[in-house]
Assembly symmetry: C2
Homo-oligomer: 378 residues x 2
Amino acid sequence: MKFTIQRDNLVQSIQDVMKAVSSRTTIPILTGIKMIANEEGVTLTGSDSDISIESYIPVEEEDQQIVDVQQSGGVVLQAKFFSEIVKKLPLDTVEIEVMGQYQTVIRSGKAEFNLNGLDPAEYPHLPTIEEENVFKVPTDLLKTLIRQTVFAVSTSETRPILTGVNWKVEHDELNCIATDSHRLAMRKAKIELGSDASYNVVIPGKSLNELSKILDDNNELVEIVITENQVLFKAKHLLFFSRLLEGNYPDTSRLIPTEKKTELELVTKDFLQAIDRASLLAREGRNNVVKLSTLEAGTIEVSSNSPEIGKVVEEIQSGKVEGEELKISFSAKYMMDALKVLEGPEISVQFTGAMRPFVIRPVNDDTILQLILPVRTY
Amino acid sequence: MKFTIQRDNLVQSIQDVMKAVSSRTTIPILTGIKMIANEEGVTLTGSDSDISIESYIPVEEEDQQIVDVQQSGGVVLQAKFFSEIVKKLPLDTVEIEVMGQYQTVIRSGKAEFNLNGLDPAEYPHLPTIEEENVFKVPTDLLKTLIRQTVFAVSTSETRPILTGVNWKVEHDELNCIATDSHRLAMRKAKIELGSDASYNVVIPGKSLNELSKILDDNNELVEIVITENQVLFKAKHLLFFSRLLEGNYPDTSRLIPTEKKTELELVTKDFLQAIDRASLLAREGRNNVVKLSTLEAGTIEVSSNSPEIGKVVEEIQSGKVEGEELKISFSAKYMMDALKVLEGPEISVQFTGAMRPFVIRPVNDDTILQLILPVRTY
């Protein structure tokens, strides 16, 4: 293998596939990046066997030559060293040449690195995915869907299925749900499926987080292919594979209350800041708990108390207070997580009593819903 | 105590004194910030008993009212909570009022915090310093002096005196020296002493680092007062006290070679980048060691070799190569540390043999010198 490449493109590509490379792997070759050059371009692959990422650098793009391949071939190079070296090379172009025994020379200006490489044939194969049913989602919508749900997955391995986000596809609608059993995040979106296929899968939260980091902010379409145990996201010059979690995701629909006894409308930003302040003194106390009480005349009170440190009380005007009086306690962290991902300047909070889960959603928007279980303090 | 204050000024002042507050102190009241208000303004104090910082907020500055003191008094508040609370208050002004038992109310808009405070009379007194001999250094020069020496102090407590920077003042010259016994940094500067006093003290590296962070980048004069066991830096509205290290600093003057057998002149930036690249593969090997060899025709070679990973070789043009041929090995980290603080586009490196300390300094500048001990590899 021998080629010359624009350094910026190589740096970007390495950075993308590095997202899948883990230094804590039991398969030594997976600490490396596989690089294959042929007459069409250079393909890099990184994998931790849960997530696999393939990045493709074409010979030409927009009439600009990016790669000049003098000899096809391939090698696997230690990801950590390869990425640091390429970042620090002196010139804008890099020459990479594989000699005997996968000894690899990386040359730029008067700097010359010799790295011990490995045989690319020993690198595990990526899953083969039959692209029967593909659906497409614009990149920015996909990133929003992930951001609005993935934070609510469980970080505990006691119920592994809850560490993933449940994606349900049916009737041209994608429904994403995450819960750690103390709170739940749900977001729906219309998609064009082009078939009557339906899916109900669970994608690891970690995979979605990494995918979100790699995708640029634009509205180009990402193709999504779901199989029995894998999901593939195809963006421009990029393939992102993730395994799916095995097992049945709990039926969350019955968790969501259908009635309401108290309803508040609040300015999202003001409410978020008040909770943030109240949480300053709650953090040290019982599990970061703040208290919300309805007062008279459309006012609500947010408060928190840590006997050793002090207490905080703040009043907020509510645009609308309907229904029963209420005193309720909940985790400030869960509330802030939920408020941060809700779009729209005003939110509606719907309670069905101090001990029942309550719902937060933007006013006039039923595509997104956040649910929080209160904490018993009274 | 009761006063109203501009939040930004209070935030800045808290941030400054927080630099001296440690959560790992054996004196509980030192986890707090002392705040005293009188008709002239508000004074905040933080201390970890090694470093003490006093920040003063005047009632008025540049015809703008900053503080409105309704009642003099004082309190000590938990630094961590006080700083987080003030940062997150909703309005630009803050009202602070101390009630009975040092219960302190912090009010801004509709948010009201009650913090348990302590009696300021129980807060340790700052050292009293007789301001007999004061010398003045512009802030930006002081920060440069610190930056160019403090990185070379020892991080090991086996010889505590080496964790400080040796400041010697004599004949209108300040000489700052730091060494960890593997490398040495020295920087001299002319100062106006206004007396024939002379000093030879050792200031903890940590104190100088914190001082440097607090000082703004400007050329206002900082007053420096040195006593037997304390040093005081006085900047605008700010007092910074540090204890001095006890013991005699080693005589470093005989470490610095007076002759040279090989001399190179190099472009600082190119040399730094080449060392940085060579260190990528050295990091994993013996103690981050790179090798430098003189070649023919004014060329030098920087190289490094880690048998398991690979090797790197780079040639650099030297503006001047005089004297004997040389092969020498040294720590890439020490060399990069030294090159990063040397000002000037070109440096001169002067060797007296492969096993002797060598000197790096800017071409045509003898106010700064960096010295590195080589590593035996041949």
